[in-house]
Symmetry: C2
Subunit: 323 residues, 2 copies
């Protein structure tokens, strides 16, 4: 059984789209309980649409204006009210009322609330949002897609550790192949941040016996040849992901029914948090809830955190041993 806190006020189409997504997720997965965070009226809509004997699967943590005032109106991204449901959902994940939290609200607000409400992993300053892109040669883990927009070499190398561990735990990858996104595959291609990060990554020990394979390019994320994990800064990753989404929206996905990922897992904070696209549909919200439940059941976030801890300790020991 997974208990997922869901932000009723996140996203352009909230709360209607979230109500739709919550219902879809409940119908698809009988082992799911939802803690709906936001206006009680919207939560009542979810409950009313379920059969009598299913309604106890839905609980509510009210936020925002009391009574009917809050229901039926979309939350403005970045407003205090939208952020209030994010903070309340994060508190539910922190106090144990929920196993995970999912929101289609402003990713900046979610990342901030997660760092404050759940705390960061030891030695982690910058969280990352990670997605799995359905590439031709198999799934490709792409991070960061928007948590940390200012790129620094040390952030990129730490996120390479996140990505390798996530690939191993979530996708079962053995010896994940990690690449750094740049504008050419030959060493030296890219800006100063990439050149420094490339040099750091060449000597870095990666979790799950991962291997750093060097620089990769934008098309490698959708083709996936010889690569399992692609690391970049949150600005570039977000632009790239939305570009791929736009291209697939026009041309159809790589296979019928497969689309670009619409939900991202937040890594680097002590809890399970999923961020959906602001323009999420009901189906996207349901996918996000399913991802959150999958991450909880697979103990993905805590296992990745432990692998990071082990690697950090190993690197520290190697540093002590080396002359």
């Amino acid at each position: 059984m997974s208990r997922i806190a869901v932000d009723l006020l996140g996203g352009d189409g909230a709360p209607a789209v979230v109500v739709d997504g919550a219902l879809r997720a409940c119908r698809a997965d009988p082992d799911l309980q939802l803690l709906l965070v936001g206006p009680p009226d919207a939560a009542d809509d979810v409950r009313a649409a379920l059969p009598d004997d299913q309604r106890r699967r839905i609980t509510v943590r009210p936020t925002g204006a009391p009574g009917g005032m809050a229901a039926g109106t979309a939350a403005e991204p970045g407003t205090g009210r939208a952020d209030e449901s994010i903070r309340a959902g994060m508190a539910a994940a922190a106090d144990g009322a929920a196993d995970a939290f999912i929101s289609a609200g402003s990713s900046g607000a979610i990342v901030t609330a997660a760092a404050l409400g759940l705390g960061r992993w030891p030695a982690v300053r910058r969280p990352a949002l990670v997605v799995t892109v359905p590439a031709v040669a198999g799934p490709v883990v792409l991070l960061d897609v928007g948590a940390t927009v200012e790129a620094r070499p040390a952030t990129l190398t730490q996120h390479a550790l996140f990505g390798a561990a996530y690939g191993a735990v979530r996708l079962g990858l053995d010896r994940p192949r990690v690449g750094l996104l740049s504008i050419g595959a030959e060493p030296g291609k890219g800006d100063r941040v990439r050149r420094t990060a490339d040099a750091l990554l060449r000597s870095l020990t990666l979790p799950a016996a991962g291997r750093y394979v060097g620089l990769v390019e934008g098309h490698d994320v959708t083709l996936g040849d010889g690569i399992d994990v692609v690391v970049t800064d949150g600005f570039t990753g977000n632009v790239l992901l939305k570009g791929i989404e736009g291209a697939y929206a026009m041309a159809g996905g790589p296979e019928p029914g497969r689309v670009a990922p619409r939900a991202a897992a937040l890594l680097g904070v002590a809890g399970t948090v999923v961020v959906c696209h602001g323009a999420a549909t009901g189906a996207d919200i349901a996918t996000g809830i399913t991802l959150a439940a999958g991450l909880h059941r697979g103990r993905v976030t805590s296992t990745v955190a432990r692998m990071l801890d082990d690697i950090t300790r190993l690197i520290a020991e190697q540093d002590e041993v080396s002359p």
Copy 2:
């Protein structure tokens, strides 16, 4: 009649792929003359494949190792030999032997050789590579896709001028709508560079009565709703373009037979230069030659340069008038 200098040694498949592309371009456009720059043997292959009465359309400017040694082997990107054909082709464009130059070589080497060999436009420090993406709602001009990888607000605002002028001259756009690529459409989204550039662009006079419409996202480049020109730094633009290419390669383009652009025009230098993808096919090289001929015939580069000059003078006058 257009006389296009073609780098025989640029790209992963050179010179064979360039020979193929040169032939395709010649056959498609009887008003084309080619100055092939590189090993004479490869140039002979082009001539031999043409009918007798067509062979005088092909001339050669030899570079690299003499005789057969250079022919039939791919040029390593970034090697002195590959760069030699770039410098020689640029010299042909500078001395009037050719109206334009096209290469699938290293874009960094081409941009450097163009700045040195042709000179930059007045008041321009950073050239830009510009492509036209076939979006759903019509073509979208995207720049920079790799000429200037370090993003600065002043570079982005100057490239917005380039993009608006190019859209007007090349695509016939009236009042082109210009957006700045970021990770959300609301003001304030993005990194510090984007926030500063967004503020600068709000008060900038654009060529062709262009309008700045604010921040746009990755998917806007393939959808094109309400936008004609998208400005970004060369790192992000290159990654995005290759991501869209990869997605289309998997899923098919937006319409049958339409693909992501494989040739980019260089703006900011005093001449017509086209850069093809390093992994260009013969068809891609032919597309690049056709683009170069079209830019020459439409006097695109010189017209864009003059519009920039006019706008720069207008902005200077406004600055003098204002208190």
